[in-house]
């Protein structure tokens, strides 16, 4: 059908919204509450346009096109409405831009600049609410909240967690966990998707920058950094690079400049995880263990099971997540090798994740010392690089330290949904058959679909596997497991939509296009590596020879496996 936008005729498909058509036509309409892929709520009214025949202004995000429709997206009336909305938001927003974590990266700030807000036309009472800093992962500042509801919808509709929602009415409206509890005591899984969707500084990670700097500045401490696969394909965005730029070498160089004594690759332990997990799966298959086995690398997902499906805890793989394995090895195997007192070691994990911060604080993850001492998000690392005065773009590539720096292509794909599954299958096939697969790329489990399934024949046995991302999608599968009619043997679950590449600690803001580009980069790294299966990692092989003996050995269990808690009540 034909519609007219700003006097220009354009084609539109029935059922499309005005916003969608305008986007295609290159006409910019500002939005705040709009989230691609979710039902529009039309709550912020930023996207209002004038539609001929309509009494009032109409939200472009929700209003469907009709034949012969005439739209004005930038009339004087529209501009005044939008500017007023911005002014009203500012009137109820703390004037703390200069000290805000989102300074320079805030949608309200940009809109105010775009619409030329130069004075405070409306002034009066502001919302007063206490900051919630109790959790180890996420801080919530309701005073900065503009109630766009993006976090609420992501938490409810994409993650299916529902830890936060609107409460109270009118000017007293506020987003909060039930009964105004802290996120720390609510059924929040700390995935951080609320943060990556927050347009302002109302949600942010609990910063570990300060304790990291203190460790670096302490001459007694040996500071050891490790870096997750998904960080290397996203960190560049913080410095203006294209999404999907691979900056592994620069990141290593930057970490050394910041003052890290050693820089390891979490991918080493990802390879190790695969060996342990593949053997655990084969063991369960052989000995009639709990099936389907569920992966355990995503700490948000683990907490989800602990809260909502505690009866399925035994289905979870007992493997620690890779950075926790790495931390445990740094403070045991590597410390012994180097003759360093593990008490002096400070392990910093650079993660795309906020739930990892909570995970690092789990008392069961560590022996005398915690496996990991600090967790920095990709964003925090970028802050530290800036503070350290490093010109990131001009850094020369550097290499990880040995031996915990070697990794295969199987490890790097952990960063994308389906990657753990693919890596595990590569190694499981080899472990059972003693042969490498002809084609090691499992395209069925790649991509951004919420649930991806595959049947894999290994020596005459068919394994039914699934890779799931975004927690909403796992619910029906867990319900089926509960009911005893799940067809699967092995399921990979990543809490965040797209997996770690779109984790709660990644550069802001997040969207599908960026996630796709980061994903492509992950697979590019894999493709360009000579060794693409975890069992080919020589340093891992050496680790077993020198220290762990064999997969799932007693020592491996002590260092690399864990247990879970029922958080149901």
């Amino acid at each position: 059908m034909k519609i007219t936008i700003n006097g220009k005729e354009c084609w539109a498909n029935p059922g499309e919204t005005v916003l969608k058509v305008a986007e295609r036509e290159g006409i910019k309409i500002p939005t705040l509450c709009y989230l691609k892929g979710l039902t529009p709520t039309g709550s912020c009214r930023m996207c209002v346009v004038e539609v001929e025949g309509q009494r009032n202004l109409t939200p472009a995000c929700a209003f469907p096109v009709f034949e012969g429709m005439k739209v004005q997206t930038n009339s004087a009336k529209v501009r005044r409405a939008r500017k007023t909305i911005i002014e009203l938001l500012i009137a109820n927003h703390p004037p703390e831009c200069l000290t805000c974590v989102r300074n320079g990266n805030c949608e309200l700030q940009s809109l105010a600049a775009e619409y030329g807000v130069r004075s405070l036309r409306y002034q009066g009472e502001r919302r007063h609410a206490k900051i919630d800093v109790a959790s180890p992962s996420i801080e919530r500042d309701p005073e900065k909240c503009i109630l766009c509801g993006r976090c609420v919808r992501v938490c409810n509709e994409i993650q299916g967690v529902g830890a936060i929602d609107f409460a109270r009415r009118g000017f007293n409206s506020i987003v909060m966990p039930a009964f105004d509890h802290s996120l720390n005591t609510a059924a929040c899984v700390f995935c951080g998707q609320c943060i990556v969707h927050c347009p302002v500084g109302a949600l942010r990670e609990k910063s570990n920058e300060k304790i990291t700097w203190e460790a670096i500045n302490n001459p007694e401490k040996i500071v050891v950094a490790q870096i997750a696969p998904a960080v290397r394909v996203a960190l560049g965005e913080e410095f203006g690079m294209e999404p999907g730029s691979i900056v592994t070498g620069k990141a290593v160089a930057a970490l050394r400049r910041i003052g890290m004594d050693y820089v390891f690759d979490t991918n080493f332990s990802a390879d190790l995880t695969i060996i342990e997990e593949a053997n655990e799966l084969l063991g369960r298959l052989k000995n009639g263990g709990k099936l389907p086995m569920l992966t355990s690398c995503s700490p948000g997902w683990i907490k989800y099971v602990e809260h909502f499906y505690p009866d399925l805890l035994e289905n979870l793989s007992t493997c620690k997540s890779p950075h926790e394995m790495q931390g445990a090895l740094i403070k045991s195997y590597w410390a012994e090798k180097m003759g360093i007192d593990p008490a002096k070691i400070f392990v910093v994990s650079i993660m795309p994740c906020t739930a990892k911060k909570f995970e690092a604080k789990r008392p069961e993850l560590g022996g005398r010392y915690p496996d990991v001492d600090a967790v920095l998000t990709t964003r925090e690392l970028a802050n530290m690089i800036r503070i350290a005065g490093i010109d990131f773009m001009r850094l020369k590539d550097d290499h990880f330290d040995d031996p915990l720096g070697e990794a295969t292509g199987a490890a790097v794909i952990f960063g994308a949904t389906g990657g753990v599954m693919e890596a595990a299958l590569r190694t499981a096939y080899f472990t059972v058959t003693g042969k490498e697969m002809a084609d090691i790329e499992f395209r069925q489990v790649r991509g951004l679909d919420g649930v991806k399934e595959a049947d894999v024949a290994i020596n005459g046995t068919t394994l039914r596997v699934a890779a799931v991302n975004a927690l909403r999608n796992i619910k029906p599968i867990l319900d089926a497991i509960r009911a005893g009619n799940s067809p699967y043997h092995f399921i990979e679950v990543m809490a965040c939509p797209g997996g770690c590449i779109n984790g709660g600690g990644q550069p802001l803001p997040s969207d599908v296009e960026k996630t796709e580009k980061r994903m492509a980069a992950i697979y590019r790294i894999d493709r360009e590596l000579a060794k693409r299966s975890s069992h080919q990692n020589e340093s891992v092989q050496k680790l077993y020879e020198e220290y762990l003996e064999h997969p799932n050995s007693h020592r491996a269990h002590e260092l690399l496996h864990t247990h879970y808690y029922n958080r149901g009540e």
Partner: protein, 665 residues
Amino acid sequence: MARDTFQQVFTNCRHSAENPCSYFIDCITSGQKCHQSEASNQRLRRLKDRLLLVEHDHPVFLVGMGTCGLANGAQKVYEALQSELAAWDAKAQLIPVGCVGYCAREVIVDVKLPGHPRVSYAEVTPQDVPAIVEAAKRNEVVGDKLLGVYEGVSRNGWGGYPVFQQLPFFKKQKKIVLDNCGVIDPDDIDQYLARGGYSALSKALNRMSREEVINEVKNGGLRGRGGGGFPTGLKWELAAKAKGDKKYVVCNADEGDPGAFMDRALLEGDPHKVIEGMIICAYAVGADEGYIYCRAEYPLAIQRIERAIADAKAYGLLGRNILGSGFSFTLKLKKGAGAFVCGEETALIHSIEGKRGMPSPKPPYPAHQGLFGKPTVINNVETFGNVPVLLNMGAEAYASIGTQGSKGTKIFALSGNVNNVGLVEVPMGITLREIIFDIGGGIPNGRKFKAVQIGGPSGGALPESVIDTPIDYESLKDIGAMMGSGGLVVMDEKTCMVDLAKYFMTFIQSESCGKCIPCREGTKRLLETLERLTRSYRSERTQEEAMQRFQGMIYLERLSEVIKSTSLCGLGQTAANPVLSTLRYFREEYEAHLYDRKCPAGVCAELLTYRIDTDKCTGCTLCARKCPQNAIIGEKQKAHYIIDEKCIRCDQCRLNCKFNAIIVE
């Protein structure tokens, strides 16, 4: 006392909820179709005469026990009557009825003696009861509490008393929807049936196609009575044509406007009429399930609805295969938790679904995608109440009432500074002046009329200059108000219009759901602007605060326009109306507050100045002694003075002065 039912008076009637007969209602209205015999017809006539109080052997007393009656002590009156009647005639009937509309004169007690017309007493207290019963024993009337004698039956020697229906309060009313309210026992489905109840449903199911029902409603010109005035027939047609494996009918009984109690009274007084309208609607659009969404603050209405649903079910008028038509409809009651915004249809839907009551953008309209995503008709209580009336009268007769664009009647809740506070049903096209002065009896205490707020917080305050406008949807919009659900709050000269706007803005602000920015944030700033106007310069601590008072006023209209044109739902879109209408008609009052720092009506306490008329002051010192602030000084027998800085405007000096020496400006 076991009572006869309609089925018992019929010969061999096989009708039951499980095995319904399509003639059941027709038999009640016009005599048994099958097994016709003189005996059975006679039994039917006798039963109807008894139910309609035409012929009965024992005295009948009826007490107005709607919420208004109960608030005025109807329970005590009822109990007093109970004991008096027990001592007199064991077979005397005592029936609680709904509100007849004359709330100002509650408790209303009607007496119907065999062979006499029904009489109505007003403002009855328990102390009046013995006299009323004693008089009844002698077939007499107590003159001083008498409101009127019903017309219709032989007046039998009571000709000297005023005719109830001719009282000024009732004379200009046209009761077609409220005709049963306060007249019949709302808990007795037989009384509703005896007065032709469910005959419209029977007509629709037995003699009309779905399309014919919709066309009839369209031709009758019925428009939504909840405020918006959307043509009801059109709404039904959209839902009927919408594709869906299931459809719903929802009755919006979440009446929340300050000063509105139409829906409550109708549900308390005649619940079956609303239910009948809903069943007809369900038949017309092809729905098989319905909800009445009634606010939990209406406990009596809820009780009545529950009883009525159960009775209708037992009679086979709700449930499977209604009157043998093959059409099935079940009805549930859902209690609202008290959010004003849940009166907005999409918020109401979310609330029924168990979600937070917040509106969502339209389209999709409920007629296409409503409750649980299915096509849904949502109409207001009064709209459904009009449906049986329209079908019984026929579209043509119904459309002959009212004006060109607005047909039928409208129920208004008349309150505020008016003599006859109450519920009135008037034909569309009547003027506000007629309602306020003829029906409402004008302004009490000899004061002057100032304004009438129509349409609750979404409407506007109208001054005397426009109250001759005929009431219909369009004319009201033209003068900056809206029909609204039917609240009419009358205000006299002692009302401050800035204070009024502030009141409504406070209401809107605390009832805004908080979803969209213009409503949530904008109404707060409007409210603050109005608050600054009514605050004294003494509480403006800085120059900046004084500047804000002006700044707020400068942008008041601009902000109001943005809120109006940008808000998500009707609540926000109309939120600024009280401000805009008072600004339009009472601008000088705003200016007095802003520039002169005075409240001409003497309402905004902070802006008042108290001083003593030195000519009148005798120096009795009483005021100085009563003043809690020691703000009054003066020597004995000499004129006193008030120190303005200390005065807190508590009014004690004026209240205590015996010489009228305190001047308040």
